[in-house]
Symmetry: C2
DNA sequence: CTTTCTACCCTGATATATCAAATATTGAAA
DNA sequence: TTTCAATATTTGATATATCAGGGTAGAAAG
């Protein structure tokens, strides 16, 4: 980290703060303030924000300002479409290429994940335990992507995942209990050696919960205009 | 165009030159030379190159140089994996959402495209006619994406398409004749209202020809190191 | 003639300065 | 008190300057 470029450091830092919720949706990001806070000139900051904008985490308008992106219903819908496309592909390739030991690992992880979710049913909404479950869940999905043996696919999924996925964690997820064996069933479908099963299993998995998220987005009242009121 | 930012102009210009082959694979891109040629400082150039790097069209190493990206076999393989993921998703959604008039349009385009390919069988490798066929082919695929009614999906496919797709045009494509009714069959599968048919049809379509491309890449002897010999 | 090493040059990275556009603020006029 | 226009401020965009890392050519040594 210390050896990487300033732009890289800024990117990592800002992204982390957005994902952790330290910077909330709609928050204004002043390049100069950030530069001062991160102790660098605002050029590396600009580069970092350009990358984040390309990834869809922030949005900016020329000579007006930059803010953490406010996702629309269409954004979330689109995100799920892409996720479904990429993750079903990962499931297919994983199904074809997975080794015996990886298969064992995946099945075990799925079982563990289901147990975690069952245990977390009684937890409070913002407990650290829930966050760890969430992290584990993400890792489970990335594991499937890795077993597909397509580095680029892993990268694409990673990029899509964090966009809305992490955001929905804060707003709605875990509201409804998951079906029993939710992840175990998926893992078994993937390990079945049958492409159709793997494909259908993942498709169902991704689509689950989409409606809830859509509803919560609709209820969320956010400033859609560009009134970037200064924060002092 | 004249009203857009310098960075945007640079991006469009450089990208165009890469896609048109004016800048060949492996060519060195000097930010300062580009800045002078495009009549701007090298900051907008830097921003443009960063975007192109994120999209995978160029690659750069700190304090060494930037060049038009040299795709590896793995790159091409990965590109096809992503394309298959995104385009089958487009085919599925298109299958579900297409209107009667759009269906008619799609079927007609497919027929026309098949005719074009049949007519182009006797053309020379680098004829302008072949390029127009290629362009029409691309438009056919984007039409399917549009009919899926997911703007983001269109955008993602657009981004993936140009990367390698256009490149392979120059190196190998059209070497082998396409099966008769290649595109008409795809269009019919998509218009069948049956998801499985649409999915399978597109999957087959995308995979066709992958092997040829892979072979031609293997034979291509390019400098893989970073010997960025100056061009005067 | 070949190998080694050093000085020079080019590269991307970063800092600082300036600009024009758009917003926010203020204060005078109604 | 309200309206509105002039001004101050902030923003992203761009230009220019400087820096340190790495490559290259050519001198020096074998």
């Amino acid at each position: 980290m210390a050896g990487s470029s300033l732009a890289q450091q800024a990117y990592t830092q800002i992204r982390e703060e957005i994902l952790r919720g330290k910077l909330a949706v709609g928050d204004v990001l002043s390049r100069r303030k950030l530069a001062e806070r991160l102790n660098m000139s605002f050029l590396p900051i600009t580069e970092a924000l350009q990358r984040l904008e390309a990834e869809g985490l922030v949005e900016s308008r020329p000579r007006i300002g930059t803010r953490v992106r406010i996702p629309t219903q269409q954004d979330v819908l689109d995100s799920y479409v892409i996720r479904e496309a990429l993750e079903t592909q990962a499931a297919r390739l994983c199904c074809s290429n997975i080794t015996a030991s990886e298969r064992e690992h995946l099945l075990k992880s799925a079982k563990h994940l289901d147990d975690l979710y069952r245990a977390s049913a009684t937890e409070l909404e913002d407990s650290p335990f829930l966050f760890s479950v969430h992290t584990y869940h993400l890792r489970f999905h990335m594991k499937i992507a890795e077993f597909s043996r397509s580095p680029r696919l892993v990268q694409s999924i990673e990029c899509e995942q964090v966009l809305i996925y992490n955001w929905l964690y804060d707003t709605v997820s875990h509201r409804k209990a998951l079906p029993s064996g939710f992840h175990s069933n998926l893992a078994q479908a993937i390990c079945s050696r049958k492409l159709q099963l793997a494909d259908a299993g993942m498709r169902k998995h991704v689509r689950f919960g989409l409606e809830d998220v859509m509803k919560s987005i609709a209820n969320m009242e956010v400033e859609k205009g560009w009134r970037l009121r200064r924060v002092d």
